[in-house]
Amino acid sequence: MEKIPKIWRENLITYGMVIIAYAVMQILISFGLVSRLVQGLLVPLCIYVILAVSLNLTVGILGELSLGHAGFMCLGAFAGAFFSKVTVDAITFSPVRFFLAILIGAAVAGLFGFLIGMPVLRFRGDYLAIVTLAFGEIIKNVINALFVGLDSNGVHFSLSDRAALGLLDDGDVIINGAQGIIGTPQDSNFTVGVLLVLLTLFIVMNLIRSRDGRAIMSIRDNLIASESIGIHVTKYKLMAFSISAALAGVAGVLYSHNLNSVAASPRAFGYNMSIMILVFVVLGGIGNIRGSMIAAIVLTLLPEMLRGLDRYRMLIYAIVLIVMMLFNWSPKILEWRERHSLRELAGRLRGRSKV
């Protein structure tokens, strides 16, 4: 049984890539070789990687299409930022505060994933895609219109305007409608981002290679067969979907603590964002965790790298998209990759040539 070590090796390569990329980036930064622009991209990169990897759990591992991943990110962003803003004076040690904010963001997003998944995941077909698309937009729009204030009487809500909160003089507006939350502590940084990427990879990759993960993948591969051998299909669909949503919430917390404010803008949390995350997953290879990560990094960095080329920027971007698509999906290339993979090479060196 050489199976366990093989999986370990695969996982170690993925963690190793993250750690090496982090180390190289830190060295380059210390020598002053990284532009401000790229430095500003480092936390967003981590956010996109977490989003792509977590969406792959729903799309690639569970096999259900979700078009509202940005909605869960939005929930996590606001839940986490709300907590941090309220407790910024009470908890002065920022790592602890940020840790709690992440837990809260994950819990709120995961809870909504559960609540939305419960009615929808019972059905077969593309209901989930439609419902999550609608949900994502609703969440963003509701938060965009939401006013929440805090005073000595407690919490006040309104969906109309700030004045309707009727705050006392000692009160403070926490969520200010379309302006969102202003004055969140900037607790995110590249190191924390990378740690959260590693945590996300750890959770997703270990889940897949466990009893529950096998059950989830069996549903993807054949729902009827899965039921016929006693798998609780609804339970495992909900589990995968909620974990995926919770991790999107973690990305949201990272997002809302990167700058000192967060607003529920369409650019940050709209369906375009959900689609972009889906593009990372599809181009990286559905069900391929490492692929999602690489696609998220390449497709985020590329437009910035190409800024100098100005007019040809989008053209090159499009070409890269097509090349990645071919690389991950063309049957001929997949076969070629299989034959020339490192594992195969290692196998041949050891004198055995198994698949």
Partner: protein, 258 residues
């Protein structure tokens, strides 16, 4: 023959219609513990529909299904499996992107437990239970001569081995009753002969009761002790294998008159 007298499966008055078509019409069957029982009939007779009714894929319009003393009529597919019914499918349904080993391990799912967190954090129980699951899975793979393909993706197996893997996966759930839908379909005569041996072995070694649908009359005559013949959704006759196969009504149903 070591046959107990309590019926393991007892089905009465089972019926279902699709639109105007009575696919299964007043179907009865009694399978005793330890029996190797055949369900035969021409194409479209309703055999697979019977299996789908027995396993909760379809709900019957009328009728009762008892597994020993338990009424499993209208139970969910998942719960019917937990009650002790395992099945295979006419058009093979494997988890194609999982390995052969993992296909069997999904079958072991309800027999070995550790929590999600124990799995994610690789706690000691994850290790010990996974080890036991691997051993159990390999035992089953050996029965079906699949242990050398354990790491292959199930979808890459040749056809005959896919059929065997499907049986192994179902046996992993530890059923009392095994339903096989055309296990020899698409196999060559050698593979079929081999399969007959395996089915007998499974019955003896696992103390299994087996109800199988089959078109291959050699296989049916070779291993089934009793048969029920289905024609246009109705039971044409039931009885001892030789008596049934030599009955003129059955012969006409198969050769088709009109």
């Amino acid at each position: 023959m070591t046959q107990d007298m309590t019926p393991l499966l007892n089905v009465t008055n089972l019926s279902i219609s699709f639109g105007g078509l009575r696919a299964v019409d007043d179907f009865d069957i009694t399978v005793k513990k330890g029996q190797l029982y055949g369900l035969i009939g021409p194409n479209g007779a309703g055999k697979t529909t019977v299996f789908n009714l027995l396993t909760g894929v379809y709900r019957p319009d009328v009728g009762k299904i008892f597994l020993e003393d338990e009424n499993i009529t209208n139970m969910k597919t998942m719960d019917i499996n937990k009650a002790g019914v395992g099945r295979t499918f006419q058009n093979i349904r494997l988890f194609k992107k999982l390995t052969v080993l993992d296909n069997v391990k999904v079958g072991l799912h309800n027999r070995f437990h550790y929590s999600t967190l124990e799995g994610i954090f690789r706690l000691p129980r994850y290790r010990s239970i996974e080890k036991i699951m691997n051993e159990e899975a390999y035992k089953l793979l050996k029965v079906f001569d699949l242990e050398n393909e354990a790491d292959y993706l199930a979808g890459n197996l040749p056809y005959g081995k896919q059929r065997k893997l499907e049986i192994a996966r179902t046996l992993a759930t530890n059923p009392k009753l095994l339903l096989l839908d055309e296990p020899a379909a698409g196999m060559n005569p050698n593979e079929t002969k081999d399969l007959m041996k395996t089915i007998r072995f499974v019955r003896d070694e696992f103390d299994m009761t087996i109800l199988l649908i089959e078109h291959d009359m050699k296989l049916v005559a070779g291993i089934c002790e009793e048969l029920t013949v289905l024609n246009f959704g109705k039971v044409l006759m039931s009885g001892e294998t030789n008596a049934v196969l030599n009955d003129s009504r059955v012969i006409t149903a198969y050769l088709g008159e009109d």
